[in-house]
């Protein structure tokens, strides 16, 4: 009887010790497991080109670091959102619940980011956006789990407004931009700063995002203006400029563009119609620092095209991840600590220059004024001027800016 009691206690004790050993080993094993990175991109439909460029940028960054950051391996899982909000939500859920990702880089489009916004807050998943520029996500409706690796829609357009009024001396401008949130926001930003510096926007045209033909819009442009501001996204800049040329306006009325109008992703498919277009952006393959030159050369050698908006967005998002991981010594399991590190990312050098994050999760970084020129046998965005430390609020007071209505048509 006593022996039985003794044996059962021994058995219980042994089990307890074994269990303890197993769990501690498991705990140790946890430290060694890879960091699970989820990547939301678009592999089908109209946005597929941008999605592919984002993928290339991320692959390039991970390969450069041998898929290791802060001593931990990075395990990448890719989700294709097909550019649809519902699919984006489904993929995000899969990444979080099935793949147990620690952090997400993505998605591509602003409407996709807005579709998963509530879910991200509920699931408490750190997310780094490599592309979506919707203003309110870091302004009037901030998400504590969200950090943006690119600027807001208007962040670079503000600078161009100032440059156009003060350095180019333009007084009257016609604006033609894509008729959706991104187009409205960037145009409104340009207009505000341009008009504050003495200019006047005399005409605003809003072709629908998927319009087949810009002919009737081009014919409606007031020919007496000093310049035309073209705020297009995706492939529309390419189509617009080519049609602009066929209507005999190239060289007659100069064109100002947004970063996406003459982005490197479409620039390599354009010709003389793009030459001379002046645009603004936080990145250009033509940024003349040693770091960027090496970066562009290596990227071009591997992929055959210059990095632009999408490539740089994903590449920088990856750099943010590395910077934050190193700040917490690889301890991504502490979500709050990691998120705080993400919000405090400070890159002293990157292909773009120096980047800091503001309290709302948006980057403060240099903005470059660029001009499309023929260089090294292909079209490049050559940098004309650099504005340092540009935030999403331009030179305005943050409280005042947020009090205004969000930029719209």
């Amino acid at each position: 009887m006593a022996i039985k009691y003794f044996m059962s206690t021994l058995a219980a004790g042994a089990t307890a010790v074994l269990l303890g050993a197993v769990t501690t080993t498991a705990a140790f094993a946890e430290e060694e497991r890879p960091v699970r990175l989820g990547f939301l991109t678009v592999n089908s439909g109209a946005l597929a080109a941008g999605g592919q460029q984002m993928q290339d940028g991320l692959d390039f960054c991970l390969d450069e670091r041998d898929h290791t950051m802060a001593g931990r391996k990075i395990e990448l899982t890719v989700g294709d959102t097909a550019g649809q909000p519902e699919t984006t939500l489904t993929r995000t859920r899969e990444l979080v619940q099935r793949n147990n990702v620690d952090v997400i880089i993505g998605p591509l489009a602003a409407f996709e980011a807005l579709a998963i916004n509530d879910y991200i807050i509920k699931a408490e998943v750190p997310i780094i956006s490599p592309s979506a520029g919707a203003e309110d996500m870091t302004q009037r409706k901030p998400n504590p789990w969200f950090v943006r690796a690119v600027g807001t829609s208007a962040q670079s357009a503000h600078a161009l407004g100032e440059y156009a009024a003060n350095e180019l001396g333009y007084k009257r401008i016609a604006m033609i931009s894509d008729d959706f949130a991104f187009g409205h926001e960037l145009s409104a930003g340009f207009q505000r700063v341009f008009e504050e510096n003495g200019g006047e926007v005399v005409q605003k045209l809003w072709p629908p995002l998927n319009v087949a033909d810009y002919g009737s819009y081009i014919a409606s442009i007031d020919r007496s203006v000093d310049a035309v501001f073209a705020g297009f996204a995706g492939a529309n800049g390419m189509r617009f400029l080519s049609q602009y040329q066929s209507y005999g306006l190239t060289g007659r009325v100069p064109v100002l563009g947004h970063m996406t109008t003459v982005d490197e992703g479409i620039l390599h498919r354009m010709g003389a119609e793009a030459e001379g277009v002046i645009s603004s952006g936080w990145y250009s393959a033509g940024i003349d620092t040693e770091e960027n030159r090496a970066h562009v050369d290596a990227f071009y050698k591997r992929f055959g095209y210059d990095p632009g908006y999408y490539v740089n967005g994903a590449y920088t998002a990856c750099m943010f991840l590395e910077n934050a991981l190193e700040a917490v010594n690889g301890n991504i399991e502490d979500k709050t600590g990691f998120m705080a590190a993400l919000r405090n990312v400070h890159l002293t050098s990157s292909p773009r220059g120096e980047i800091r994050i503001d309290e709302l999760g948006n980057p403060i970084m240099p903005i470059y004024i660029r001009e499309v020129q023929q260089k090294d046998g292909r079209l490049k965005n050559v940098v004309l001027k650099k504005y340092d430390d540009v935030s999403q609020f331009w030179t305005y007071d943050k409280e005042w800016f947020l009090d205004q209505l969000v930029y719209s048509r």
Binding site: S44, A49, P207, G215, A219, R239, Y247, R269, G271
Partner: protein, 286 residues
């Protein structure tokens, strides 16, 4: 004044392009009662084939021919091997046509990548023509010419050749035509070839204006449907009138009432469907 002239020319050019896109759809639907929803994808496929020809150093004419004939052959094969088996099953045909759209679109994405591509106009037609103090793209004027050539060619085919009369007979009354010994199934294949070839060639000819990119098929299909609904099914004159009517409504609507661009475009279709469902030149479908 200049504004009105330019916009009218724009309308004519857009109408011409829409005609090339829709006439094939109209013929196929009129004869075979098959709503060939793959039509937009054929248009895009033709354009991609044209890009390939140009990349290999071929000329513009060659690109248009390859685009047209290439897509025509694919269309004929689809008709023979797939659609024929679904005769009498219109829902099945529509679903297959839709499914083929996705297949073609994805295949193009895989083969050509997601980047938009340009088809430059032939050097002789590049640039702007100066007339009466304004500029208009030479190529768009040429497209108007292409459409006129196409409509004359199709008219002669339908009205003056034997095969044309067989097609017209089939459109009018299929059962009687069969009873008269007309080889209806071969006519079907021929019309499918012709219709899709026109779409494919249209894709190449539209390339210098629209460029080629994923999603082109989905943008073009609703326009083709619009033209055919407005102009009437199975009628050459209907496709012609419908195309140019839409060209004018769309262009002037965009220019004068830009906020209502999409309403302007689809409102005529709604009105026609209520007032005269067979379209302006169509006959009441049996």
């Amino acid at each position: 004044m200049v504004f009105w002239v330019i916009q009218s020319l724009n309308s004519l050019a857009l109408g011409a392009l829409l005609f090339l896109l829709s006439v094939g759809f109209s013929l196929i639907f009129g004869l075979m009662r098959v709503a060939n929803l793959t039509h937009g994808a054929y248009f895009m496929l033709g354009a991609y084939l044209g890009v390939t020809v140009l990349d290999y150093g071929g000329g513009f004419v060659m690109a248009a021919l390859v685009g047209g004939v290439g897509v025509g052959v694919i269309g004929a094969l689809v008709e023979r091997l797939i659609l024929r088996r679904l005769g009498g099953n219109p829902l099945g045909q529509v679903l297959v046509a839709l499914g083929l759209t996705f297949v073609i679109a994805d295949a193009c994405l895989m083969l050509f990548g997601g980047d938009p591509m340009r088809i430059p106009p032939p050097p002789s037609l590049a640039g702007a023509a100066e007339m009466f103090g304004f500029y208009f793209p030479k190529y768009r004027l040429a497209v108007i010419g292409f459409a006129i050539v196409a409509v004359i060619g199709l008219y002669l085919l339908l009205e003056r050749t034997r095969i044309g009369s067989m097609i017209r007979a089939g459109v009018d009354d299929m059962e009687m035509a069969r009873g008269m010994g007309i080889p209806v199934s071969r006519i079907f294949t021929a019309v499918f070839f012709l219709g899709t070839a026109l779409a494919g060639a249209g894709g190449v000819l539209g390339g210098p204006i629209l460029s080629v990119y994923p999603g082109l098929d989905q943008e073009m299909l609703p326009l083709a449907l619009l033209v055919v609904i407005l102009g009437g099914v199975g009628s050459l004159a209907g496709a012609f009138i419908g195309a140019f009517l839409i060209g004018f409504i769309y262009t002037f609507g965009q220019a004068l009432l830009p906020d209502l661009a999409y309403i302007i475009l689809f409102l005529p279709m709604v009105i026609i469907l209520i007032a005269r469902p067979q379209g302006l030149c169509g006959r009441k479908l049996a």
